[in-house]
Symmetry: C2
Subunit: 205 residues, 2 copies
DNA sequence: GTCTATATATTGATAGAC
DNA sequence: GTCTATCAATATATAGAC
């Protein structure tokens, strides 16, 4: 009987190596900035030589793109369905914000990099990432508007309120440290957003 | 009689040239990112050659430091006295937020650069800039706490609320365009912060 | 203070053996 | 897929004339 380990499809091993590279690169990019980090440094962290990275990514920029895509496409596909679930607009928005903050806390470095290093992307890649962000922002705006129409929320300009809330949430990635209590953070920011900026009445305060 | 122009003190001319360089560099850094911009590009924009820049700044990093200092030390010296003026804690905080947003709108590119390109600073320069930001943040926290003690504001954790508000304000520099109505922006964000995140009762809504 | 010319270092990426 | 060796480009910064 053959060894199962060595018989495993190389596609899985390759994908695992890719994720390893992305994780190491995100850490370095977050700490030092994209341009300061060399391919050799990333390669060292995963135990290979710099040239070997090009078996997994066509360029350094493609590593950055993988990080940015992970933090924009994944939330769109995994969080936005929460806005179509059962419940009032305010309840659905609260679910989304919870997921947003948890995801941010679980992927802090990737989130920081995808906010800060966008100018290093090619115009095409930047456009794709920007599209995902815009769509996410529009969906948040729409559920805020629905909550306002239902009389649950009180905002004059849903579009501007959506931006303010998302900026406030995304700001977390600049200062969050590993020793923070994520659940307390989630509760606090849901309240900041919904009871605060979006003016829900009759909330916990 | 001598020509007044050529008799002008060189210190003034030098300072003007420095400001010219800082302004051009900030524009390029904001658009393309610090590391993508070359000294020759900055020099071109002010009509000199790359090597001549070193008569005004010791290094490229010192230009970045001048930008970061302008956006952290100046607000500390010019805005924080508003917190010691007459009025309730909430009124004083509102004045500070107004000044903060106006300054941000008037110096959008410098503000964006001083948020995004911090990792490119030397450790010493980064420490100075960080100290200014921390002090600013502490003063905001203190006036929020005073407003809460006075029963004007309703927050559980003044420190966390201060960070959330400042993150929300600073987020403006990522998307603000020149055609925005600054006064409307100021009014909106003062309300987002004070009536919203900080829970003032009996406000305009 | 500005110029021309250049030093020096580093980096992203490629070629080809194994 | 990983390695060694290397290319080619680019950038910051310096030297010295004017």
């Amino acid at each position: 009987m053959e060894d199962r380990e060595s018989a495993a499809p190389p596609r899985i091993a390759g994908a695992a190596r890719r994720e390893e590279i992305v994780a190491a690169a995100a850490r370095f990019f977050a700490e030092q900035g994209y341009h300061t980090v060399g391919m050799r440094e990333i390669a060292d962290a995963v135990g290979i030589k710099g040239a070997s990275l090009y078996n997994h990514f066509g360029s350094k920029e493609e590593i950055l793109y993988a990080i940015a895509l992970k933090m924009t496409r994944d939330p769109q596909e995994q969080h936005l369905p929460l806005l179509d679930a059962e419940g009032t607009p305010t309840e659905r928005l609260a679910s989304l914000i919870e997921a947003h903050v948890r995801n941010l806390a679980d992927n802090r470095v990737e989130h920081l990099v995808s906010l800060r290093e966008l100018p290093a992307l090619t115009p095409e890649h930047l456009a794709r990432v920007t599209d995902y962000r815009k769509y996410y922002q529009r969906r948040v705006r729409d559920v805020i508007a629905a909550g306002a129409r239902a009389g649950e929320l009180h905002v004059e300009d849903p579009s501007r309120a959506a931006i303010a809330v998302l900026d406030m949430l995304n700001g977390i990635s600049w200062w969050l440290r590993d020793d923070h209590d994520v659940e307390a953070l989630v509760t606090t920011y849901v309240s900041f957003a919904i009871d605060g900026v979006l003016g829900r009445r009759g909330g916990p305060r």
